[in-house]
Point group: C2
Chain length 127, copies 2
DNA sequence: GTCATCTTCAACCAATCAGTTGAACAAGGA
DNA sequence: TCCTTGTTCAACTGATTGGTTGAAGATGAC
């Protein structure tokens, strides 16, 4: 992860592994112990324990105590951090498109007759 | 990334790096060449070129040709794949909470008088 | 206390990653 | 043509990752 030690980096990195996404999917159904989570996979329990640690470090999972068991619980609110980040830039990009389309329409209205190929051309930076 | 070669894994992995998220943020404003993107960072252009390649392999960025320049363009629709995954499990977890709350309320109505501590207890699996 | 169960810690290994430097390639300008 | 600019390729390095095995902690059952 190198320098990517901020929370968002840890969350994205945690979900970059299919086994861990699978564990999250399983936990969305209901809490489960490490052993229960490890069952479906043919890797060692220790490996799954490590995966859970990664998810926990990212804040996606919390563990409580129940005798020897350490039931895992999905902290779904953490998803919001990601969703916010994603939506912010998706919106920004989309807004730019709309602005660009408006400009193109205006240009086209200006010199109507000269044909412009429509697909979004690149712009140097923000206009 | 090991076995995480599916598209979702590549996308999450790509965004797990703060420099790459930064590049995405920059591209949300407008298309930019590799050199322009590399400018703000004190790492080599080659390093940034590699980052862009990672983003491109994840489908988040496409590059076109403009003389020697290779303008990068953000493909924001790819975000939807992530958002869908996230929302699916967030909803599922949330629905489980609501179900659980309903059950707790019912139990509490049943034996009203016996005090139950409210915070969500874990359940073995799906009910 | 002793034993079995569930989980984590520690040490190791092969593979991947993010960075470097130096060379090559591609395209425009003198 | 030669030179400059922009980008990528290739080889190398140190750090991190996901996996392993074996031992050690906890905790309940006998």
């Amino acid at each position: 992860m190198a320098v990517g030690d901020d929370e968002l980096s840890r969350i994205f990195a945690a979900l970059a592994d299919p086994t861990r996404r699978d564990i999250v999917a399983r936990l969305a159904v209901g809490d489960a112990s490490v052993g229960e989570l490890a069952d479906p996979y043919d890797v060692s329990i220790q490996a799954v324990s490590k995966h859970i640690k990664v998810l926990a470090d990212a804040g996606l999972v919390t563990q409580t105590k129940d005798a020897q068991r350490r039931p895992c619980h999905l902290e779904a609110e953490v998803f919001d951090l990601m969703t916010k980040w994603i939506e912010h830039y998706r919106r920004q990009a989309q807004a730019r498109y709309e602005r660009l389309d408006a400009v193109l329409a205006e240009v086209q209205a200006d010199d109507h007759g000269t044909e412009h190929s429509h697909p979004h051309p690149q712009q140097g930076a923000a206009s």
